[in-house]
Symmetry: D2
């Protein structure tokens, strides 16, 4: 299937470019009977919106969602739901200058080689972080579906930026605090340190990377289809569609490889006549199937590649080395804007699997 499509039964198709008319998404396969309105989607979009604080890009976009199809009398109908936001604050001039000089670390170079000068380079075109707004719109619908039918709650939040990492998280704080500060970190003890670090990088024309963690509570048992549609498989496929993601791990992940089996295995217990594990090194997935424990995954975001600092690059027309300093308005760190995007992507995949597993009917009861 072509690259802009994710999911099989709950399907999202993303379209639009950073500096084109709009960015949008179609959700196909959403069951009929889910109450949806623009406000639901808008609240989540607003959490991702640019220009909200000094640590994000200064591009001002209203990002107002418009629902074009698939919703009738306030409910989904079972037909494809097309949603979009019109682009407004475009300034494509800086991109003209660097058409032949690829930004190091950015998609520019392979995109030029692949699509030639047909590529819409303005604002990064399809490779812009702006397209993650389309994931959010689709994700809200998935989240609502999961929440309403299965009680699943999805929470993503910053756990590390610029080498500063939280070591102090509780589900309560995650729920309450993750969107209460600019860096989207539920550990108040490091929020200001991280902000300082981002501002320092920004002032030096540089950028920072970080890690977003995501958990999903009230998971059913048995979601996932071994072997290649394992829950880890489908989640990672979708998560790597987010620009700047370079790693995905579940449970104890890369740290877990240093443990012994006897330490890393999660021991089963009976609690209130339910089987649980005391630890969650598996991240809630064994054999590609959800175990009923919370889903737990982490995503590595590389430092943003577009920086003001001078860097060496190539003048492609003359095939000689040159320097580039990326003008324009860029996020010094994309991590603070990532949690709503991660929640959306995780929701899309879980909704897809929940439908495939027969947990969500094609038409919801009124």
């Amino acid at each position: 299937m072509s690259g802009n499509i994710i999911g099989e039964r709950f399907v999202a198709i993303s379209f639009g470019e950073s500096h084109g008319k709009c960015v949008g998404v179609i959700v196909d396969g959403c069951p009929a009977g889910l109450p949806i309105n623009a406000t639901d989607i808008q609240s989540k979009l607003d959490l991702r919106k640019p220009g909200q604080s000094i640590i994000t890009t200064q591009r001002k976009e209203e990002d107002k969602v418009e629902i074009l199809s698939g919703v009738f009398n306030g409910n989904t109908t079972g037909a494809p739901i097309c949603m979009l936001i019109w682009n407004k604050d475009n300034d494509s001039r800086p991109y003209e200058q660097m058409r032949n000089t690829p930004r190091p670390g950015h998609a520019d170079y392979p995109a030029m080689m692949k699509y030639g000068d047909f590529n819409d380079y303005r604002g990064g075109g399809r490779f812009s972080g702006r397209i993650t707004a389309t994931f959010v719109m689709a994700g809200v619908i998935a989240e609502k579906l999961l929440q309403q039918i299965l009680g699943i709650e999805i929470l993503a939040y910053t756990v590390e930026i610029g080498g500063i990492r939280t070591s102090n998280l509780s589900i309560d704080n995650i729920r309450k605090l993750r969107y209460s500060n600019d860096v989207r970190c539920p550990d108040p003890s490091i929020v200001e340190k991280i902000k300082g670090e981002i501002m320092r990088a920004k002032s030096e024309g540089d950028s920072l990377g970080g890690v977003v963690e995501c958990t999903a509570l009230n998971m059913p048992i048995g979601l996932g289809e071994p072997v290649f549609s394992a829950l880890e498989s489908d989640l990672s496929k979708a998560l790597f569609g987010i620009p700047a993601v370079k790693g995905v791990e579940f449970g104890s992940g890369f740290e877990g490889v240093k443990k012994r089996g006897s330490e890393n295995n999660d021991i089963y217990k009976v609690k209130n006549n339910k089987i649980i594990t005391m630890t969650n090194n598996s991240g809630g997935i064994l054999g590609g199937l959800s175990t009923g424990m919370p889903l737990l995954l982490r995503i590595a975001f590389k430092p943003a590649s577009s920086i003001a600092k001078k860097q060496q690059s190539i003048d492609l027309e003359n095939m000689k080395e040159t320097e580039i300093s990326v003008p324009g308005r860029h996020d010094p760190c994309v991590v603070p804007r990532a949690p709503p995007v991660v929640e959306a992507i995780v929701a899309i995949i879980l909704a897809d699997h929940a439908i495939k597993y027969g947990l969500i009917p094609p038409v919801l009861k009124r």
Copy 2:
């Protein structure tokens, strides 16, 4: 698409169980005209075969491949290629005892919950590491295709086991040494240390995890289809199909998030009129597209969950806690057997993308 299928144009469909009659695979979509014989496949299968050294399971399997279809006069015909190996050395008795007592860290529990007592629990059934033999058979065909048409070379090797990590790798050593020792590590300075560590864990009835790295040389530019069929997306989806994989990262991955953009961006250079980068923090992928630099990824394998050491578990029938000690023949560390599997999986995805990108024709020239 159902879970045992990977790829879209070069497609592998895995079947068979650990203690069933056989494990096998169909490759559909392989271009006509690729010379293939059982020996090609056998040599790679032999690198994954159990019972080869004291550090792997003592299950003795000949693992002799049989090609059932799709090859005629020594060449692929364009028709589906079915290959299988017959299981021989099954001992299902230990599994009877633990039918109601899930092994901690293993797929047992969610599989029981999902499939009930229809699940083929013998030897782990479909959740056994044995099914990776089916990936290898399909992968050999993909590797040959990539090698012959595009000159791509895929190399996977152990970089860490039990916390012992190499810091000394060269492409030459990787090529020459990775299969020269039991742990599949191209750094001779740590091979014996790792073996010792594995033997120690084994003697204590425990297991170890580790990291496999994989590189692909002579990559074309532009492989991958943003956004959800990004090269990272499709590679990770397939890699998480390997049992025990809990993390996948590209280039600088989780370490890279600690760097600044100016450090992590790979600076472009012109060398012999070709554009290259001096570092490869991107792992050869930007914007989901291959850059022409070597593909570079790492996979986290958790310590094997089946251990002889006593662990707490649940007697599901009586819903009360009990102890389990996993009898039978298990790998104390699956990492040494993983590199041929990783090479196979990477090859399948690259072949699929190369065909989709028009780099491999549907019929090869004689």
Copy 3:
């Protein structure tokens, strides 16, 4: 994959409802570098537009296409192309009256049963013939691609309406005359007869069915992928997506079954050093593969189900029999508006297969 998506490499995703805000389509997978503008699409849309003559519905729709994404500087970029037309002339009042009384022969009844009262019943919602406008928009792009790269020419036309069938067709006439008259029939000798028949049915509050034939010239050899992605398979799958289609046949089709093999087999000849057949009973497809002869297929359109004539139906609320007379503006025969739709659908499938077969590169040469 969800139902509103067709194709695998050249993919069309249809959205929108008859009386919603708009109807639209995304094309994903179109190669970069195809010159496209709104005028190309508009000319074809105009051939399908309602309200053009007395024999079609009197709904007045401008049907003006708007391209939202995927085109930059007049060329496709390789990114998804979203196109839509805004609905204007909606009159949903008649549909309120018949919400509980399904029109015989229409999707009303199963749609109510499937989607309950979440179904957007206004104007038939997703089941309206109006969604075929979305096929046309996608089809124009496919047609242009096929025409420009492979020289393929696709021609669809009416061969039968209300039992009146042409027996006199030539490629020249088909090219010149098919869109020169209201019934889209390239046989001038029956055009007026058909119009008379349609007007008679209309005046009696009734409707007519008919047959559309489609041919594609300059076909390459070998398009199609046996067995389930045979050219007939994928063409018919897409063609049955057109409302009112109840049969699809290739070459001699249902008539051919009465022949003997010696009559129905197309004898090979050499002509100008090219292999051709004198007859084309195969419709240009053997073994699911194109033969290089013209593609030839026919599609059965049932008489439109929405008629003014009184018919028996059920009052679903009270589960008792009642009568219904469908008010509103309906086509007494959908066949005259079908040829551009059929051309579009055939083009989409041929483009998809041509890309899969490596005949169209991912980026076109300038």
Copy 4:
């Protein structure tokens, strides 16, 4: 997805060649807990088996099914089910002679052009009617699933051969008589006439075509996913995968186009508090959705292309015209062997849709 795969949730993957080692199929996505044994499959395979009567090919094949995976203790496990039959009675010699002389009406020519001399031409290779045995094996599982969970009964039978058509059918006769005679026709009054016609054609070195009709009883309402996964869409896609099929129609089909809407619309009635229609011109599908009335479709099989009679063809090596008389053992009419194949294909698609529609759970109750 590659061509040998059909279905999305209930998936069949066909492999093997006419004169290779075997023909086989994998079913992936079958729910766990369906009782399956070789005998179930064998009984249906036997209805398709060659060499059963004087009117079919004299190739003698035992066609004994072997189940290789996915069944444990007599039940499906949810894992892929691989089944195959070993080829025995191959005689490839006749095919050597005609390697360069394509049989008119057969896949030979486009297959040679597409796959070159890599094509496995022996016995038609993948293009042989023999691969329909793989459809039957998969279909039996689908049929059992539909029958056991939903009570759906699928019945296919000959309605026309060599121009002789039944006009006298009852469900009772269809059930009882369709497999009681060599031509698989439930109308005893024409069986002998048809047999005579086939024998006459055979004795003249010629072949006949015909029509198979298929009905499915106890259909649920709402199966199908508009617009491109309409029930007609997916059924026709799969049915055209059967060699020699050149047309598919539903309900009144091509005849229905001659009717007026008021005649062709099926009038709703209430009977025993259930909504039914007195006629079934829709073939049980409206708007791509099942209506609850019996599914009804017809398939046109062209006369077999391999005939003993001399026909003109081309010597491809010397590009000059020559004559060919097809030796070997061929069916003078494939229709009598088609009904079990049609039942199988229809079952696969209905099972796929029933799973997608949530009517069949992923694990069956014991």
